[in-house]
Amino acid sequence: MTVEHGIAGQEAVAAEESPSVVPGVRVGNEPLRELPRDLYIPPDALEVFLETFEGPLDLLLYLIRRQNLDILDIPIAAITRQYMGYVEVMKELRLELAAEYLVMAAVLAEIKSRMLLPRPVKVDEEEADPRAELVRRLQEYERYKTAAEDLDSLPRVGRDLQPATAMVPEMPREAPAPEVSLDDLLMALADVMARAEMFSHHHVQREVLSVRERMSWTLQQLDSEQFTDFRSLLRPEEGKRGVVVGFLAILELIREALLELVQAEPFAPIYVRARA
């Protein structure tokens, strides 16, 4: 019996007492007579136990740490055999066996075979220990596994601490009015116009917005009760263009039947009134 089997054997009291045939578990074509000797947990807890591994690296680390081995000096043959034992059990218990476990099995087998080969007398600097990559990955994984445990032990909200909150009676919330950019507005209009098919050929026209604006202004000057002097709606100080715009606005309003004109006699003052 090898050394690590000895250690495992001392731990594996439950495994030693296990029934000689594990029900329903077959390895290859043979029923599994015994659980792997290094299992130290009762077989009925095996499934739960195996499911706690976070992957092949986690399982390997467990095998190494359990025997107090230095991660830099893994007895690859022994570890490989133990690893394969667990993988076989996982397969037979029909645990959902991630492909990563099988990949790791292949990696271990390859390292084992390379270590069996006779080594050249002169060791090249380049020729690294075949375990190097595995050791690197194991250490890397172990760092983060430990980091995860550290993280879990940090005080955290909801478990170890709770932000303190006081009620606020009738809070006067000054909700600021939303900002709207001109781009937002124009995009909204482009959308609505597209929907309304305003852009189809025969509708495309030069919208004279100043006329529209002036129509609004003109309407605001008017009253449906009394007449307003037509001339007061045109503002010479705006120049020729301003007068034309004002005039067009009035014409447009008449066309839309929004106002009416009255002239008592030729050349008399023209009066305007909003149509009631």
Binding site: A166, E174, V180, A188, L189, M193, A194, L209, M215
Partner: protein, 205 residues
């Protein structure tokens, strides 16, 4: 573990809960064997009340129990605590505003016709409350619907001197590029619709 003073346990509990706790609920914090009687709880709460005097916080009894709350004279100092996130206007509101700007004077019915959907009263009220839109008359048709137009405040907000400074509908079309069949000059655009249109254009011609 040493037991903290009762008033500090109650203080922490009320602040952790962030809401009122009944005396029964406070009692339930303790194991059966060490449950303080209600008079003791009340005593501790009154002590807390004294500790809190002049601190901007009150320990008060309300219908559902006791709670810690910000004192009313402190409230004005917190008014800006939540004001940082302005709400956003809905798409419907922006479209309505755009239609009013471009088609004024315009009635609600006319806006609905352009947009193809009905407009909620809330939207019209919001636009008027904001001071961007006002009623500028009534159309002389049955029902005398109000006609809306934009205001000076609207122009000011968008930093415009007059509505003329808004792009024309034609320029807007370019902005949206929604109808590429008009873009006959650029047959090599990636838009398949444009290519299709260009194809048709040549075979038609």
């Amino acid at each position: 573990m040493a037991t903290p003073p009762l008033k500090h346990i109650l203080e922490a509990a009320m602040l952790a809960a962030g809401d009122a706790l009944s005396l029964e609920h406070m009692q339930a914090l303790f194991p059966d064997t060490d449950r303080p009687e209600k008079p003791r709880l009340r005593g501790a709460l009154l002590e807390l009340q004294q500790d809190y005097a002049d601190r901007g916080l009150d320990v008060v009894e309300v219908a559902s129990g006791w709670r810690i709350q910000v004192a009313s004279d402190m409230v004005p100092w917190l008014a800006r605590l939540w004001e940082e996130k302005p709400v956003r206007y809905s798409r419907a509101l922006l479209e309505t505003l755009a239609v009013i700007a471009y088609r004024q004077p315009v009635t609600r019915g006319e806006i609905e016709e352009v947009r193809g959907v009905s407009i909620s009263t809330t939207i019209m009220r919001t636009l008027q409350d904001r001071g961007w839109v006002r009623v500028i008359g009534h159309r002389d048709v049955p029902g005398r619907p109000a006609m809306f137009g934009t205001t000076r405040a609207f122009l000011d907000h968008f930093n415009l001197k007059s509505l003329d400074q808004l792009p024309s509908l034609g320029e807007l079309r370019d902005l949206s590029e929604l109808h590429p069949e008009l873009d006959l000059g650029f047959p090599d655009t990636a838009d398949p619709a444009a290519e299709e249109a260009a194809d048709r254009g040549s075979s038609d011609g």
